[in-house]
Chain length 124, copies 4
């Protein structure tokens, strides 16, 4: 959570990272996340920057804050699932489009993907 590029504003990169952790399940629904201060320290970032990132993804519905006790991942598992599926759908579509541009058929594409996972599995 500390590798930032110079291309985009840092708070946007933090937002992306945190949303990813929620979507992927690293942070579970309803789970309490670390304090702004701790997160800022972990990311080597100004607390204000971290605060801005957290506020934004709270506004987007990923977090809720309880005034006195901290911030929690939304317990709306359906919401998280939907975001996850939207993203996954986008990735799948992009993949199919790219392969299509290369003139690679559906069957070939699926086969190549299986092959990739297979090799990767054997290595790991």
């Amino acid at each position: 959570m500390w590798n930032f590029s110079n291309e985009k504003p840092v708070y946007l990169q933090i937002m992306e990272e945190l949303k990813m952790q929620i979507i992927s399940g690293s942070y579970k629904p309803g789970e309490r996340i670390p304090s702004v201060r701790d997160l800022a320290e972990e990311a080597r970032v100004n607390p204000n920057t971290m605060q801005k990132a957290l506020s934004e993804i709270e506004r987007e519905g990923f977090l809720i804050s309880l005034r006195t006790s901290g911030k929690y991942v939304t317990d709306d598992a359906e919401f998280i699932k939907n975001v996850r599926e939207d993203r996954a759908g986008g990735i799948v579509k992009e993949f199919a489009d790219n392969m299509g541009k290369l003139g690679i058929s559906a069957d070939e594409a699926v086969e190549m993907l299986k092959m990739y996972y297979c090799k990767k599995n054997n290595k790991g």
Copy 2:
């Protein structure tokens, strides 16, 4: 071959487009491509810009130019095949990485891809 974004230089986008046409087989190995002027007109671009794009992909090995007769796709089918496979490999890797970040397993990813192709097929 006429929709350009403002993010990257036009000549780079043209290079990408033309290489894609060669890699995907729209232009066959050894086939003559349209003249610089014609391509420029088709792309609504200055002939110099098209010339620059063509010179670059010629330098990369996709084209050869015969002085007074025009430019031809390389007849080195092996070269084209290698580029195609490199690109496909990159796309597959990127896909797997992105799905992995979402916490989606290999089996799920393959399943989603099949599903996507299936739906698309039924629509078309």
Copy 3:
């Protein structure tokens, strides 16, 4: 840097000239060269033509360009040295070949060369 023949494209002649200046040490390794505009003005040539020449010799490894600060001679002195030696070797070979065609022996050729340098020296 301003006398161009009609036999070869101007940008090729500029390339030759600039590479010569680098090889001969007029421009030192790591040294900043004048801006594209200044060089173009000095050579009485369109900036685009100068830009093309510079891009080419940059691609060949003689220059590196830092976006907003200018272009610099490569600091790879080894590279420059190698190019210099290759060229010198070619010149020596051509000389020996030409003298050989005239039926002039190695000893004679060396003698004539010494004589030439000697006379030239006394003049200067």
Copy 4:
């Protein structure tokens, strides 16, 4: 005497070749050269082309023709010697100029030339 480039008229190349043979001493002063017909056949060239070449170098003073008995190399050894020296001088000057442009000193140039001949000698 039969390898011609497409860049220059053939008769000019023949002239060059024949003058070279005279200058280098392959054809001696006063020696009779083969007939136009034989030379043309040897060079795989139309007799008219050979005739033109021979007339030109005769005009330049390398040959004299005796109406009934053929063409002879001039017996003016002084003339031949002068041409030879002029050419050699030009080659030497060009060599020194080229080396000078590379920033190579007289001593270095002489040394490199000796080295070249030495290596060549050991190989042959």
